[in-house]
């Protein structure tokens, strides 16, 4: 039996207007994100995947359309919706006035934890993300991998139902990348829903339960990685992606085609 979606995007349009120019970042995107899975948003640079994840993360406003959380518009009570989500944006956005420990502690207070509860949660996360030796360090003193760990740890302080990761492994070395993959797998195994925006196809293949390929602001296909590979008769997602992108260029140079080949989630 299919479970009701955690997030539903309903005809989401996003147009950026500057001076006399309009850029259509999203063109009527509709999709459902089920609970308890890793849902990867894939696409070339400028395809609209970060715009979509930002709208779901309440970091951008759609021009039209709606986002539903468990069937209710998130704009009905934004503050309440934000209680249920954790966000790791592309830019880590960590100020240097606080130490790693303070970052986590205050994040706990922001989400309504008491001082004691926040201290306990901070200690728990510091241990879970092996940040013990950096407890009193400033974010600028950390390597890229550890900074990313801190951002993920910060977004988990309040045990969100949905975690939104926007290009979490960009700029990380292969070892740090693999470590982060383990973290994501661990979170999924605990039942957390994850939206993973990435342009690393191997990452999506490795981690995602469902893949949504976005091209020129439109959903091109939504399917499981296995379904996509068997449907296109390819060995890996990268080949599928390249084929889809090539067909998109051949069929519609203006990017107005909306071909949904995979199985809708």
């Amino acid at each position: 039996m299919a479970t009701s979606p955690l997030i539903s995007c309903r005809q989401v349009v996003k147009t950026y207007r500057s001076n006399k120019k309009s850029v259509h970042a999203l063109r009527s995107v509709s999709l459902d994100i089920p609970q308890g899975c890793v849902f990867a948003l894939l696409g070339a640079n400028g395809a609209g995947k970060t715009t979509l994840s930002s709208i779901i993360a309440t970091l951008a406003k759609p021009t039209s359309g709606d986002i539903l959380y468990k069937g209710v518009s998130i704009y009905h009570d934004l503050a309440d919706y934000r209680r249920h989500i954790g966000i790791c944006p592309q830019t880590t956005g960590l100020g240097d006035s606080l130490t790693i420990e303070q970052h986590l502690f205050y994040q706990g207070l922001y989400y309504g934890l008491s001082q004691e509860a926040s201290t306990n949660r901070t200690n728990e996360l510091i241990k879970q993300f092996t940040l013990e030796q950096y407890r009193a360090s400033k974010p600028s003193e950390l390597s890229g991998g550890y900074r990313q760990r801190l951002v993920i740890a910060r977004s988990l302080v309040h045990n969100p139902e949905l975690l939104i990761l926007d290009e979490p492994t960009v700029g990380l070395d292969p070892h740090a990348r693999r470590n982060l993959w383990d973290v994501i797998r661990d979170l999924r195994s605990k039942g957390m829903s994850i939206i993973l925006t990435t342009h690393y196809l191997d990452e999506a293949q490795e981690l995602a339960d469902h893949v949504c390929i976005i091209d020129k602001g439109q959903v091109k296909t939504i399917a499981t990685p296995k379904e996509l590979m068997s449907l296109h008769n390819k060995q890996n997602l990268e080949e599928v992606f390249v084929e889809l992108m090539n067909s998109s260029c051949d069929a519609s140079p203006s990017g107005t085609t909306n071909t949904t080949k995979g199985t809708n989630v």
Binding site: A57, T58, L59, A60, K61, Y75, L78, A79, D80, R82, R83, I85, I87, P89, T91, T92, G93, L94, G95, S97, L98, Q102, Y106, L109, Y110, Y111, G112, R154
Partner: protein, 263 residues
């Protein structure tokens, strides 16, 4: 309803606390810097200018002006820091995803500016006392109307700073906004001369200047310390400052939400 307000207040207070962690390390240095500048201004206005024919009360007038001026000038580094953040590292975005309405995030920012600036304003009061000694009585400031006006003034400056931050497109233009907007408003806003002096010089300019919110800040503070004979009525200054604070809050928050494209 009460539960929600309590939750918002908790987040708001925690944000202010976190904000002050970084500032605590800078505050002594900022107070020393501010004290040096204030002392020089007040000394010149109180002792040198009278020897050139200026009224002897000009030192006191300047001291009162500086209670407002210091808040306005010293909040500017925080505005610059805020602009650098929204155009660069974007730490504000983490705050914009917290379980509070977005407008409250910017309100906290304005209150943070206000509390930081008020530390320096208070320093300027004590510096004024030290420099002017007998001509400046701290007792004139021990009143409810001073406390109320001081809080309103700092909040106005906090929210006005939000508008300035929204107007600055990037760090290279921060000086431009300062010189073209803030500085003229400050100079013509009864900071160097009372509004009545401007009226006797040019009534048209003086009446036009009633649109300048700084006039009410300066005149309100002057009326508390120097009396109402040479100033606009205190109640008018307080009322207009509250009204201007509300307008600045609305405009500043709307501009920042639009700039950052936040729902």
């Amino acid at each position: 309803m009460m539960h929600t307000i309590k939750q918002y207040a908790h987040v708001f207070w925690s944000m202010l606390r976190a904000d002050w962690i970084g500032y605590k390390k800078m505050i002594i240095g900022a107070c020393i810097d501010s004290a040096i500048v204030n002392a020089l201004f007040i000394f010149s206005a109180g002792y040198i200018f009278p020897s050139m024919g200026m009224q002897s009360s000009y030192g006191l007038f300047t001291a009162v002006t500086l209670i407002v001026g210091v808040a306005l000038f010293d909040v500017w580094p925080f505005v610059a820091e805020f602009v650098a953040d929204i155009t660069g590292s974007k730490t504000i975005l983490n705050l914009c995803t917290l379980p509070i309405p977005t407008w409250l995030v910017f309100t906290e920012r304005a209150c943070s500016f206000a509390t930081k600036a008020s530390c320096l304003s208070i320093t300027s009061i004590f510096v004024s006392k030290l420099v002017l000694w007998n001509t400046f009585s701290l007792m004139t400031l021990v009143s409810l109307r001073f406390v109320i006006f001081f809080i309103c003034m700092q909040l106005f400056i906090g929210f006005f700073s939000l508008i300035m931050a929204a107007l600055v497109k990037d760090m290279s233009r921060i000086g431009m906004v300062w010189v073209r907007i803030v500085f003229p408003l400050y100079i013509l806003g009864a900071s160097q001369f009372p509004w009545l002096a401007l009226k006797s010089f040019s009534p048209y300019v003086a009446y036009a200047m009633l649109l300048n919110p700084f006039v009410y800040l300066m005149e309100g503070m002057h009326s508390i310390v120097l009396g109402t004979d040479t100033s606009l009525p205190f109640s008018l200054c307080l009322g207009m400052t509250i009204l201007n604070t509300i307008v600045c809050a609305y405009v500043g928050i709307t501009m920042l939400k639009k700039r950052l494209d936040l729902p």
